[in-house]
Subunit: 349 residues, 2 copies
Amino acid sequence: MTKFGFYVAVVGATGAVGTQMIKVLQDRDFPIKQLTLLSSSRSAGKKIQFKEETIVVQEAKPESFEGVDIALFSAGGSVSKQLAHEAVKRGAVVIDNTSAFRMDPDVPLVVPEVNEEDLKNHKGIISNPNCSTIQMVVALEPIRQKYGLNRVIVSTYQAVSGAGAQAVDELYRQTKDVLEGNEVRPEILPVKSDKKHYQIAFNAVPQIDVFQENGFTFEEMKMINETKKIMHLPNLQVSATCVRIPVETGHSESVYFEVEKENVEVTEIKQLLSTSPGVVLQDDTREQLYPLATTAVGQDGVFVGRIRKDLDEDKGFHMWVVSDNLLKGAALNSVQIAESLIKLGLVRK
Amino acid sequence: MTKFGFYVAVVGATGAVGTQMIKVLQDRDFPIKQLTLLSSSRSAGKKIQFKEETIVVQEAKPESFEGVDIALFSAGGSVSKQLAHEAVKRGAVVIDNTSAFRMDPDVPLVVPEVNEEDLKNHKGIISNPNCSTIQMVVALEPIRQKYGLNRVIVSTYQAVSGAGAQAVDELYRQTKDVLEGNEVRPEILPVKSDKKHYQIAFNAVPQIDVFQENGFTFEEMKMINETKKIMHLPNLQVSATCVRIPVETGHSESVYFEVEKENVEVTEIKQLLSTSPGVVLQDDTREQLYPLATTAVGQDGVFVGRIRKDLDEDKGFHMWVVSDNLLKGAALNSVQIAESLIKLGLVRK
């Protein structure tokens, strides 16, 4: 804790993302005067170490937000819907890592490297985008700025930790069962609340979140709609196929995009991305250098490689984008939003 | 063995695909008078059961093909380059499952459901396409026939068995090492002969085969060039991103395609594919029905699902295509080629 700092609350403090939020707040030396850790009644009472202090996790209630300046929510959409406005009512700025408010026109949806300025319109709640959206827009935004952007087609290779700690347990339990020749009994993935569950170990499951009437999943629609909102491109052609694969942490994405400008060369794009905020270029096919989930995990950056021009379409390019879905995809981006709010003087002090 | 049948040889009989070829020949009751199993000197002497007979594997030599009518090759490109012409010289028809002759204009590249007629132009060697290409063209051909086809963008989720038995061993060894907290030591994947090796367990590796000057891998170029050749569409816009994931068997593909015709509806495409040769439609999002590697393994079909129209492009559609890469992707397609040759009277008898 620092003498001059903010009253910060983390809601969902014992979950996969909450745990990372606490770690990111500590690692970045976020100016905290007091840290309140909140959870469901089930996890209340747990003790979590933060710097030199041991903090007891409390059950999240409306009163928990009295005096809180910044509340980081990551406890599921229903908790956010129930408590975010309570926190705002008490003067807190809410940074919400669920899909509850993302498409609300009154709620800025922010990736600081892309649209930090949107924070200025906040009315108490700011949404943190979906993990798979964040890493893609960080890579696309510098390209949009310099060459324009007409079209995006993405296929994802998403890690299991995006579905929470229970899903990670299931991945390892199933993996062990396959190695030992035991029967695999899927219970959580692809969607815990959905009717059917499928094996994730040694498999690729083309369903993340529930299906919509149009045949796309909600995860795919999140990528489509959130990308348009964050990049301020309502008419951008975006489509997504979202797939879960047996990786613990680190989302990978095969991204095809078309720029507006003609005759853009791959070397220019590499040069541009090598100095773009949040991006780490890993692209040297002679040295077999390209992003991998195993090397991205635990890192802050959005790793981009395998950039190449489409063989038929002059304005079309392909790239491979990898990032830690719990960090830049969730906890880190939320804390970066809080840092931007402070920098822009948008939190009470 | 049958009284009226062919003299058949399998080259690479002890490998991952060779083993499947022998099984497919048996399961489909292929008319065999005598089966010769060939391998490198290292595997010669092994005994393999075929129906009621125990066959001793012999070292493949030019003389091995004396009297052979049909030779199925799957022992790597260098073996095919060395021995395929020797087999042809002795009167055999060679069905080659390596990339050695695929792009040779004198060699038909055949998927029987798509271009069986091309077999009529054979000069002794017929190539079996790359596994990831076969399943995609089986799904695309009925669409091309009915609606025309302008463009394909595919991202693959490829199984480790496509890289051979050693790679499968490596996947399971690494998986065990990760579960037990041991250090992972990659030695085979992504490409055994390449400089660097990366972990495949709990990872997604965007390199299959070696890189070309244009930034695409050889696997990606195979998908691009073979698709054009098989479908007789030299000007088709095709691009591919090929990725290895920790699945033992069963390639999955996220395929975006654009048809020529306007106003095609998803229901029409589903109707069409439900009766297309080689295709099994698995597409009912209300019932969470879609193709999966774990359900496709051991099956003959090309499974297609998640068919949906692009949200912006009337002529654009997305689908998910899964097949057993050792069966339809390799052994089964090779045996089907042999069956087509017999049907068309293109093997000596």
